[in-house]
Amino acid sequence: MSSVERNEAPTKKTSGGFNIDFKALGPFLALVGLFILGTLINEAFLSGGNLSNIFTRAAFIGIIAVGATFVITAGGIDLSVGSMAAFISGAMIVVMNGLVATLGAGVETVLLGILLSVVLGIGAGAVNGLVSTKGKIEAFIVTLGTMGIYRSLVTYMADGGTLSLDFDIRGVYRPVYYGDVMGIPIPVLVFFAVAVAGYVLLNMTPFGRKCFAIGSNEQVARYSAIHVDRVKTLTYVIQGLCVSIATIIYVPRLGSASSSTGVLWELEAIAAVIIGGTMLKGGYGRIWGTVIGAIMLTTIGNILNLTDAISNYLNGAVQGLIIIVAVFLQRGDWRRKKSK
C-alpha cells in the first residue's frame, strides 16, 4: 500500500507536438507548395507583376475573411457579405454620382462616398448581429435573409443593369486601387493593416478572448459575466466594417456595380477562414491562417490561368477540392487511432 507518485489528469493526451505544428504550419506549407507548383508550371508565375496581381486580388476576399474570422470564432456565420459588398458599392456609386452636381468631382466627394460605405457596413453588420442575438434567430437564417435583401436592393438601384461611377470621380478615386507605396499596391497594404489589426484584436485583447469563449461554449461565457449578445453583435459589426473596407478598394477597380458584383464572395471568405484553420463551429480562430487561406484561393485561380493542363472553368472544382482536403488534413483524425 505504499504511496506512489501521482499522475493526475493523464487521460486522452493528444499524440504529441507534431500534431500541433502541423496544424499551425499546414496552411503555410500548402501555400509554399502552391507557389512551387506555380513556378514549375510557368516561370512568369514568380514575376513581380503576377505576384502583385495575386496579392491585390486576394485583398478583397482577405479583408472580408478577416472579419469573418471574428464571426466564426464567436460561433456565428455571415452569409450576407457578398451581397452587402454589392449593395454598398451600388450605394457609393449612386451617392457619389449625385454629389458631383453640388460638390464637384473632387476628393470631398470620394471621402463622403467612403464615409457612406463605412456607415453602411457598420449598420448592416449591426442589423445582422442585433436581429440574430436580440431576435434569437439563427445567424444562418438571418444572414441568408439579408443576403437576399442586399442583393435585390442593388439590382433595384441599378434597375437590373449596371451602375457606373462618374468618369471624373474615377480619375480621382483610381489611385486607391491602382496606386502603390514603394511598389506595394495600396490594396495589399490595406489588407496587411486590416490583418494586423485583426490579429491584435483577436489575440491580445479581452474582446478577442471573449469571442473565443463564446464560440467555445456560449453558456460558459454567459456564466462568466460576459455580455454575450453585445460581443456577438460586435463581431458582425467588425464583419460589416471589413466588407466596407473591401468595397472602398473594390469600387475604383471597375468603377461599376451590378447584381453580379460580389457573387459567392461569402463562400470564398468562409473558405479562406476554414482553410486557415479556424473551426467552423467556433471557439478557435486564426487570423494569419485566414490571410494565407485567402491568398491560396487566389493563387489557385492564378495558376489555372497560367496553364493549359486544367481548364480555367474548373477553378471552382479545384478550390472546392483544396478546401475539403485542407480541413481533412487539419483535423488530424486520419492519423490518430480510433479511440473513444
Binding site: S3, T11, P206, F212, R222
Partner: protein
C-alpha cells in the same frame, strides 16, 4: 432477433470467473495510468471498482470493454484469451459499458435508441411493430414504466439510465459495466436503479460498478476492487470492510478531518439580505439574511426552487418581486455583471456545461470571469500566467501539463479550477451549487477546507448541496426549501437530517423561519 431469454439464470455460472484482466498496463503518450492491474469479474456478482479521480477506473473499464487497447497485459473471457479490437467486438462478446455521460440520441424515441444501428427489418423496411414490442418487453423486464415511443429528451435522467440498461440487455449483456451511474440520480432514482441491478445479478449477469460513494458500495456490491494512482490496491469482500477501511484503501491515508472547524460569529454584520424574492412559478417570497463569515446551507429536494432562487439573486433569472441588500444598502442586480460588481460570485453545479471551456487550457479558463483585471485594452499574458501559478498553488490543482485541455482533467481538478476562476473576482459572497458532485473523497475534503478558509477570511458562503453529510458538516445554518418557499431556517441542534427532511417534504415548516407570508 434479440432473444432476451438468453439472460435466464445459469446456475452453474454462479461464482465462475467470466472476465479477467491480467497485468493490464496502459500509457497515454508518456503518462502511464495503469500499472499491472488484475481484476476478476464473476457471473452473478456486483463488483465495485473504487478509487479517487484519476486512479484509473475509467481507463480500466474502457480496456475491459474494448474502447481502449492495453499497452500490455491480456483479457481473458471464459478462460480464453481475447482481444477486443473495439467496443463493438466487446459488445459482441457480451461486455457492455454504460458511460457516465449517457450516449442516447435525444431526438429519437426510446425504441429507436434501443435498436439504434441494429434495427429490426422486414425486407428493406423497418419493422417498427417488432421493435416496439421488443422494447416494451425489455422495459417490462426492468419493471420500468416508460412508453417506448417517448422521445429521450422528454425523459428524466434516471429513466434514460434505464433505457441504456435496456439497450445493453437487448445486446445480450453478460457483463455490464456501469461508470458512476448514480452521479446524476436522486435518492429515489438510486433505489430504483439498485433494484434493477439486483435483478440482473440474480439473472447471472456480472456487474462492474464504478463509484466513489462508499454508502452505495456497501449497499449494492459483493466485492470491491480498490485502485489508487493506477495500481491495484486490494480486492476484498464488501461485507468484511467498513466504510472507513474503504476510504483508507482509496486515499492511502486516514482522512484526519473531513470538514473544517466551524466557528461562525452569529453577531457578525449582515452581508446580504434577500427580501421577498419571487420567481414566477418557481420561488415564492423567499427571504433570508447572510452574515459575514458564515456558511448558509440551502437544502431541499430537487425542484424545491433552490437553484432558481440563487439564479434570481445573481441576475441570471428574472425576479417577479423582491429586493436585495448588500451591507444594508439596496442594490439593483439584473445581470451577472451586476452581481459581480456587488461582490457576489456563483459557482455553477454544471462545471462542464456552464463552468469551464473544456477545449481550452487552464489560463483562459481561470481569467475569463475577471478579464478586466488582466487588462482593459490589451491582455497581460504575464499577469495571467502569474495568476495561474498562484491558483495552482493555492487550490492544489494537479495537471500533468499546463497546456493540456481542461476537458481532459479529472472532475476534482476541474472543480478546483472552477473555484479558482470564481475567486479571481475576489468576491465577498460565494454561492456554491453542488461543490463536490462526482469528486473523490480526498479532493472533497480539500474543497471543504477551501470553503472553511473563505469564511475565515470574512467571506460568506451559500451552499447548495444534495449531499447530506456536507450540508451538515459545513453549514452554520441551514435554510430548507420546499415548493418554492423557504420552509425553515435551522440553527444549532436543529440542523439534523430528520429536521431537514421534515421541512423539505413540507411535514413541518415555518417555525424559526423568517418567512413573510
Amino acid at each position: 432477433m434479440s432473444d432476451t431469454a438468453a439472460h435466464a439464470v445459469k446456475p452453474d455460472a454462479e461464482g465462475r470467473v467470466r472476465l479477467s484482466g491480467r497485468k493490464i498496463c496502459k500509457s497515454f503518450g508518456l503518462a502511464q495510468v495503469l500499472f499491472d492491474v488484475s481484476i476478476d469479474l464473476h457471473a452473478g456478482e456486483v463488483h465495485a471498482l473504487l478509487g479517487e479521480n484519476g486512479a484509473g477506473k475509467s481507463t480500466l473499464v474502457k480496456i475491459l470493454s474494448g474502447y481502449h487497447q492495453p499497452s500490455s497485459g491480456e483479457l481473458i473471457l471464459d478462460q480464453k484469451p481475447v482481444t477486443f479490437d473495439d467496443s463493438e467486438v466487446g459488445e459482441a462478446h457480451g461486455v457492455i459499458l454504460i458511460h457516465q455521460e449517457l450516449n442516447l440520441a435525444e431526438q429519437l424515441t426510446v425504441e429507436e435508441n434501443i435498436f439504434l444501428g441494429r434495427e429490426i427489418k422486414r425486407g428493406w423496411f423497418l419493422d417498427k411493430a417488432a421493435m416496439r414490442a421488443e422494447a416494451k418487453k425489455l422495459l417490462d423486464q426492468l419493471q420500468c414504466d416508460i412508453d417506448p415511443r417517448t422521445r429521450i429528451r422528454d425523459l428524466a435522467v434516471s429513466d434514460r439510465q434505464m433505457v441504456e440498461i435496456a439497450k445493453a440487455l437487448s445486446k445480450k449483456a453478460d457483463i455490464l459495466i456501469l461508470d458512476e451511474p448514480t452521479a446524476v440520480l436522486t435518492g429515489r432514482e438510486v433505489d430504483i436503479l439498485f433494484d434493477q441491478i439486483k435483478r440482473l445479478r440474480a439473472q447471472g449477469v456480472g456487474i462492474l460498478y464504478i463509484s466513489h460513494k462508499l454508502d452505495e458500495i456497501k449497499a449494492i456490491a459483493d466485492r470491491v476492487t480498490v485502485l489508487r494512482d493506477g495500481q491495484h490496491i486490494a480486492t476484498e469482500t464488501v461485507a468484511e470492510l467498513e466504510k472507513d477501511d474503504m476510504a483508507r484503501l482509496m486515499v492511502g491515508r486516514d482522512i484526519q478531518q473531513m470538514f473544517p472547524d466551524r466557528h461562525a460569529d452569529d453577531g457578525a454584520e449582515i452581508a446580504l439580505s434577500v427580501r421577498d424574492v419571487s420567481v414566477d412559478g418557481l420561488v415564492r417570497d423567499a427571504s433570508f439574511d447572510l452574515r459575514r463569515g458564515e456558511v448558509l446551507g440551502f437544502a431541499g429536494i430537487v425542484g424545491a426552487g433552490r437553484t432558481a432562487l440563487m439564479e434570481a439573486i445573481i441576475g441570471l433569472r428574472e425576479r417577479s418581486s423582491g429586493q436585495i441588500e448588500r451591507n444594508g444598502e439596496p442594490v439593483k442586480i439584473t445581470s451577472l455583471q451586476d452581481a459581480k460588481k456587488c461582490g457576489i460570485a456563483y459557482l455553477t453545479k454544471d462545471r462542464k456545461g456552464s463552468g469551464l471551456l473544456l477545449n481550452m487550457d487552464m489560463r483562459p479558463n481561470l481569467t475569463l470571469l475577471a478579464l478586466e483585471k488582466f487588462g482593459r485594452v490589451f491582455l497581460n499574458r504575464k499577469a495571467e500566467e502569474d495568476a495561474l501559478e498562484t491558483a495552482i498553488e493555492a487550490f492544489d490543482i494537479r495537471a500533468a501539463d499546463r497546456k493540456s485541455k481542461v476537458g481532459d482533467f479529472s472532475g476534482g481538478n476541474q472543480q478546483k479550477l472552477l473555484l479558482a476562476k470564481v475567486m479571481e473576482t475576489d468576491p465577498d459572497i460565494v454561492i456554491i451549487d453542488e461543490p463536490t458532485r462526482g469528486i473523490d473523497i480526498g479532493t472533497k475534503s480539500q474543497i471543504y477546507h477551501f470553503i472553511g478558509d473563505l469564511t475565515d477570511r470574512g467571506k460568506s458562503v451559500i451552499l447548495l448541496s444534495s449531499e447530506m453529510p456536507e450540508m451538515l458538516g459545513l453549514s452554520d445554518r441551514i435554510a430548507v426549501m420546499a415548493g418554492g418557499r423557504i420552509t425553515g431556517i435551522l440553527v444549532g441542534d436543529g440542523r439534523n437530517e430528520h429536521e431537514i427532511m421534515r421541512h423539505a417534504t413540507g411535514i413541518s415548516g415555518k417555525q424559526g423561519a423568517s418567512v413573510h407570508e
